[in-house]
């Protein structure tokens, strides 16, 4: 049964939602509105004057080869980050769920990487893979592989994906682990008696029961890979080499704050906003139907 509180007046309910509305207004609606507004102008590099261009910024963007390439890069990047952060997390959670003794220690250790800020994680991975002094790249060199993410775009992509996904595994692990613990034991036992062995049970019973969590994490991780990976990319590759790791949000930054093209940058952030909004809507529309709550 649904529980609803009915208010007699409208003052109290308004007061109760005011803090949330205020925060959203200051940190979301106002900047978003500003971005939309600024995307219609081209200011001069010193910000002293601006000229109204209408849809000019957008027209320029979509005819820009580099911008279209950035879309492609972003798609690859976010798919890879989402997969690389969710699949290992699920695997680790399944292992931890099987554990009876020491699961507390295991869990705590697995949660630690989440406490590392993305930029710091980026630096960490950068040092490990540094082409001259990095431990991992040295070992790869010993094995005969010449690691150089500064020159090789695919390697650069691999590195930023790994660094972005790494801390995220902890976060996803927590959710998957909690969801696994919530799967009724008797259902698993019933499946075992019905003849399903471990992996069969996992794919036919456990995974479908995890689908609300998986769906939630999918949405959250896609949004994460679009926005919050900025720090990692900035510290490791700065979008290079040759824009191979310039995802949309990084291009907003580099065009706006490095290239001083504020109008284009604003237009890009509007596009980004629409893309993420659209993706989320699509996910809800098509995937939610297949989720069993």
């Amino acid at each position: 049964m649904e529980k609803r509180v009915t208010f007699r007046g409208w003052m109290l309910p308004l007061l109760l939602i005011a803090p949330q509305v205020f925060i959203s207004a200051v940190f979301f609606f106002y900047p978003a509105g500003q971005a939309v507004w600024q995307s219609l102008f081209i200011p001069d590099p010193f910000g002293l004057s601006k000229q109204f261009v209408g849809m000019g910024n957008f027209e320029f963007l979509f005819s820009d080869r580099h911008y279209r390439a950035s879309f492609y890069t972003t798609a690859i990047f976010s798919i890879l980050v989402t997969l690389a952060s969710m699949i290992p997390a699920l695997f680790l959670a399944v292992l931890a769920d099987r554990l009876i003794k020491g699961s507390g220690v295991y869990r705590t250790l697995l949660i630690w990487p989440y406490a590392v800020a993305p930029a710091v994680a980026g630096v960490l991975w950068l040092f490990m893979f540094n082409t001259r002094v990095g431990v991992v790249s040295w070992y790869l060199g010993q094995l005969g592989y010449d690691w150089n993410h500064v020159l090789n775009g695919s390697e650069a992509m691999g590195l930023v994906v790994a660094a972005s996904a790494w801390g995220r595994i902890s976060y996803n692990f927590l959710f998957f682990f909690a969801a696994l613990q919530a799967v009724p034991r008797s259902v698993i036992e019933a499946a075992a008696i019905d003849g399903a062995r471990f992996w069969r049970r996992f794919f036919t019973i456990v995974l479908p029961l995890l689908s609300p969590t998986t769906f939630f994490l999918l949405v959250v991780n896609v949004v994460y890979s679009f926005f919050e990976t900025f720090g990692v990319i900035h510290t490791i590759t700065s979008g290079g080499p040759q824009q191979a790791t310039t995802i949309l949000v990084y291009k907003v930054y580099s065009d706006g704050f490095v290239g001083q093209d504020l109008g284009s940058s604003a237009a890009q952030s509007v596009v980004l906003l629409l893309v993420v909004g659209l993706l989320t809507v699509l996910q809800f529309k098509f995937l939610e139907k297949r989720v069993h709550y």
Partner: protein, 349 residues
């Protein structure tokens, strides 16, 4: 269809032994009820037969074969759980056919078997529903259906009716019993409800603190309980247990002789079932009735033995409102209905 044999079956969790050696031979097609209070180890015993708990001592034999090391799926058993344990993301038909699908049967055959089971359980027309859309009784039937489509040799039931309301429980009790005898499959049924045990069992195991207090037919347990625990657990309302002594070949309750006995003199526990005391003007038992509960067919009188603080319950045929208000009533009892137990060990004398 198979026999089940338990040989000195034991279970320990770490250093704590919770099942202290149970021996039993279950014949093919027999309906065995494992009954006892919560925490007595009855579910653990069942789960050991199912293969969901490891056996730490002794042996489980299913169909004459040692099953200790077999996985649950290799034991040819089916289990119905207390919370039904239906797969929430599957339809009724998929739930029932899951085991067959795992076994790799052709689709048409699965559909036919599921259909037949659904018909048997009056689930026709519900096959496309999700468990969420079913009532408690229907879910119970689906769980039963899932068990029977696989045609196992042993059914295991873990308190399958305890989540149903009283009326449905009585109905399902009959249906399960009927179904089991129709299919002729050996069944082990765990319950804490002594009425279920009495009505369903071919034989029952009365368990207490990890031990089998008594194994026997319901009537054996009712008529000749082997221990004080079995005596008090089986029968409703529970048996009156009184401190008595045997002197000069008679059972003495204080200074009153209740019955003659050939047992050796000394202190004993005297068990009297409420339904076995009969009103008698010169009977040895005098009772101060504090409360009468007329149930229609019979009346329960609750009170104390006259002049003492010893609680006593009597169940009399018909309606007895007159007793209410503390009037003394006298009862007699047939010597064969006097159960005598050793006060130390609780064993029957």
């Amino acid at each position: 269809m198979a026999t089940v044999t338990l040989k000195d079956l034991r279970k320990s969790f770490g250093p704590d032994e919770v099942i202290h050696g149970i021996d039993m031979e279950i014949a093919d097609g027999e309906f065995i009820v494992i009954v006892g209070p919560s925490g007595c180890g009855k579910s653990t015993l069942l789960r050991m037969v199912a293969g969901l708990e490891t056996v730490t001592g002794g042996e489980v034999l299913i169909g004459g074969e040692r099953a200790n090391e077999k996985e649950p799926m290799d034991r040819n058993i089916a289990m119905v759980f207390q919370n039904y344990a239906l797969y929430p993301h599957m339809s009724v038909a998929q739930n029932m056919g899951y085991g067959l699908r795992i076994a790799g049967l052709p689709k048409a055959e699965i559909a036919a078997k599921v259909e037949a089971a659904a018909h048997l359980l009056q689930l026709d027309g519900l096959l496309d529903r999700r468990p969420k859309q079913l009532s408690g009784g229907q879910r119970q039937r689906v769980a039963m259906g899932r068990a029977i489509v696989r045609e196992p040799s042993v059914f295991l039931f873990d308190e399958p009716l305890s989540n149903l309301d009283a009326k449905l429980r009585v109905q399902m009790r009959l249906e399960i019993k009927e179904l089991q005898s129709k299919l002729g499959v050996t069944a082990l049924y765990v319950t804490h409800d002594q009425v279920e045990a009495m009505t369903m069992a071919d034989r029952m195991i009365v368990m207490n603190e990890g031990r089998a207090e008594q194994i026997g037919t319901p009537m054996e347990v009712y008529e000749t309980p082997r221990s004080l625990f079995a005596a008090q657990f089986i029968g409703s309302p529970a048996m009156n247990v009184l401190d008595a002594t045997i002197r000069d070949g008679r059972v003495m309750l204080g200074e009153v002789a209740v019955a003659e006995t050939g047992k050796r003199p000394g202190p004993v526990k005297l068990g009297l079932r409420p339904e076995h005391v009969v009103p008698a003007a010169d009977g040895p038992l005098a009772m101060d009735v504090l409360l009468a509960e007329p149930l229609g067919a019979n009346t329960l009188l609750h009170g104390r033995l006259a002049g003492t603080e010893i609680a006593f319950t009597a169940s009399l045929q018909g309606v007895h409102l007159a007793g209410q208000g503390g009037a003394a009533t006298r009862f007699g009892v047939d010597p064969v209905d006097c159960h005598l137990f050793d006060p130390e060990s609780g064993r029957r004398l």
